[in-house]
């Protein structure tokens, strides 16, 4: 009986919905599906040109690959580092040529596809914690060099760790949608109105060096906000400072200062690279000087030429740093902060000795002029560890000798004395939070211990 009933409106709607679902699924499949690329036998290390491997080593250092793909105490490039994101924890993969757990059976084509579009050899989408939104611009030649370098590393048997993501983000096809929205593929297009050095710096800085991955704020879907490029971001409970006009640096950066900072890890007018940036400068110390200079030239342009006012302010701060006003304890409203500063900090920071033997005068500190006190908090808590085998700044941490309130008191004194910015709020609570995150922080910022052996030594001057 029922079969004789004509098609009613509800059934038509159901039919239309059904067709839409099927077509949508097919379209989604077409967007999300990627073929596997056939596995190869592990190529012998001797099959790679040594000059290409050497070039690849430098490119891997510029790309900071070891920072995410090596855990403390683990094999170089064997992966397993937990990367905390607002969406859950994602573990880095093993990029050694191990045939079972690494990329030993990947042909170069599969490696290039991963760099260009974030897809592994099996055709699975990779999470954009792997910054292929930057690596997509890397040239064929540079991908070939990186591939040659990685395929000649010692293979490490390190099975991948399962990501901790909730549904639906644990479904990799979701990433295809993210890519539709945010992955802009395309090789670097040189700007003919600029110098070759500038173009080289732009290619590296926007691409392999992926500066924006930390220094550009991200939107609700975890993608870099294209309308706020280099406006500052968050990484591992550190603030990655703004590198554009909004830079809080008391003394404006220029290409020469950036070069020195990126190359040796500190600059007398700006202070010391620390937190996640410590690993970056450690890597950059081992690469071709001209590439670091190119990045510096491009990034100086991103900062922009300072205004006359900014330049004057910078000169005034430098003059103040060279001949600091005497520290008077009695007249100070924050006597406790001043006393802590006098005994714990001034012995290094007000001696007038240049880095790395003296502490930087804190009037030059970007951390103290920044709207976010977290970097200053982190540095007071854990100090600066010396870099193995070279002259480098060092500072003891004060986590054991100061409580949260005392650190907050000290920081408010420093903020008042050394910046022209309004007081921070909520510092004490942020100190408590930083203590909670310290184990993670120390794990990921102890940098040079994780670096591959060949990039650990900086050139000696």
């Amino acid at each position: 009986m029922q079969s004789n009933r004509p098609l009613g409106l509800p059934r038509m709607i159901a039919g239309v919905i059904g067709v839409v679902v099927v077509v949508g699924a097919a379209a989604g499949f077409a967007v999300a599906w990627r073929p596997a690329i056939a596995a190869i036998e592990l190529p012998a290390p001797s099959s790679f040109d040594p000059a290409l491997v050497k070039r690849g080593r430098e490119l891997a250092a510029i790309g900071n690959c070891n920072d995410c793909h090596t855990v403390k105490g683990g094999g170089s490039f064997a992966g397993g580092l937990p990367v905390q994101t607002p969406f859950g924890t994602i573990y880095s993969s093993n990029i050694t040529p191990d045939v079972q757990t690494g990329i030993g059976r990947w042909p170069e084509e599969a490696f290039r596809r991963a760099m260009r579009s974030g897809v592994n050899r099996d055709g699975q989408h990779l999470y954009p914690t792997f910054p292929y939104d930057h690596f997509t611009n890397v040239s064929d030649e540079d991908d070939a060099a990186l591939y040659a370098f990685l395929m000649t590393r010692p293979p490490v048997d390190a099975p991948p760790r399962a990501n901790r993501l909730s549904f639906p983000l644990d479904q990799r096809f979701v990433i295809a949608g993210w890519k539709l929205l945010f992955l802009r593929r395309g090789l670097y297009q040189p700007d003919s109105t600029r110098s070759a050095e500038w173009n080289r710096g732009a290619y590296l800085g926007e691409g392999l060096a992926h500066c924006g991955a930390c220094h550009t704020p991200r939107n609700g879907l975890g993608a870099e906000r294209s309308n706020a490029q280099f406006a500052g971001g968050d990484v591992d409970n550190w603030q990655a400072f703004a590198l554009n006009k909004q830079s809080p640096a008391p003394v404006p950066w220029d290409a020469e200062a950036l070069y020195v900072y990126l190359r040796q890890g500190f600059h007398p007018d700006h202070g010391t690279a620390r937190g996640p940036m410590a690993e970056v400068v450690s890597n950059l110390s081992s690469v071709n000087e001209s590439d670091v200079r190119a990045i510096a030239i491009y990034m100086a342009d991103v900062f922009g030429a300072p205004s006359i006012d900014d330049r004057k302010r910078g000169e005034a701060v430098l003059a103040q740093a060279r001949s600091p006003a005497p520290l008077t304890l009695d007249s100070n409203v924050n006597a406790a902060g001043a006393s802590i500063y006098a005994a714990a900090c001034a012995t290094c920071h007000e001696t007038g000795r240049a880095l790395p033997y003296g502490g930087v005068n804190l009037a030059l500190s970007t951390a103290l002029s920044s709207p976010d006190p977290r970097n200053a908090i982190n540095i007071v808590l854990s100090g600066i560890r010396p870099v193995e085998g070279e002259r480098s700044p060092i500072m003891p941490g004060f986590a054991a000798s100061m409580n949260d309130g005392q650190i907050a008191t000290l920081l408010q004194f420093l903020r008042d004395r050394f910046s022209n910015q309004p007081p921070w709020s909520g510092v004490e609570k942020m100190v408590a939070d930083a203590r909670q995150s310290q184990p993670v922080l120390l794990q990921t910022s102890s940098g040079s211990h994780d670096a591959p052996r060949e990039s650990m030594r900086r050139e000696k001057r």
């Binding site: 406790a336 006393s339 005994a343 012995t347 005392q406």
Partner: protein
């Protein structure tokens, strides 16, 4: 005037609140175990224990110590009755010139109080801030392991000052 608790005793201190603890210990209380090395918190010779944690006394102003328990090497043991950490350093002959050793012992003591059987790697990581120019590091390492064994068998209350908890 402020009260400072050192090795279980209260001391009335006249120094200014911004005076580093090291100067108060050596000049005012006349406890000379903690040494002045660099005065910059970079060598560890001045290490003492404050509320169970190793602290660099040369960069720790007095005002941070209100209500806290300070322990110096003198508070651990004496020549007649050395503490396990001191016995271990003597038995391993871990001192050459000895200038860094008081600081080494204090930091090792703080480690052993929260981790009674540290590994080689943990000891190395913990003692990293303390410098030794004579180069007795391997003996120091052995001494810390020996101290851990001695503490396991010793009656802790008779050798470790009550303030060190």
């Amino acid at each position: 005037m402020m009260t400072l608790k050192v090795n279980g005793r209260d001391h009335q201190i006249e120094s200014d609140p911004d005076t580093p603890l090291l100067y108060v210990l050596r000049d005012e209380i006349k406890l000379n175990a903690a040494k002045f090395g660099c005065g910059l918190g970079q060598c560890g010779a001045c290490t003492v224990i404050v509320d169970g944690k190793a602290v660099l006394s040369c960069v720790t102003p007095l005002l941070l110590l209100e209500g806290k328990q300070v322990t110096t090497l003198e508070g651990l043991g004496t020549i007649e009755a050395p503490a396990p950490i001191q016995r271990a350093f003597i038995e391993e002959q871990a001192a050459q010139c000895g200038y860094c050793i008081a600081g080494m012992m204090m930091r090792a003591q703080a480690l052993l109080q929260r981790n009674s059987r540290p590994t080689d790697e943990q000891i190395r990581a913990e003692l990293e801030p303390n410098l030794c120019r004579c180069g007795t590091h391997m003996r120091i390492l052995r001494a810390v392991h020996r101290a851990a064994r001695l503490m396991e068998t010793a009656d802790a209350s008779s050798t470790i000052d009550g303030s060190v908890r």
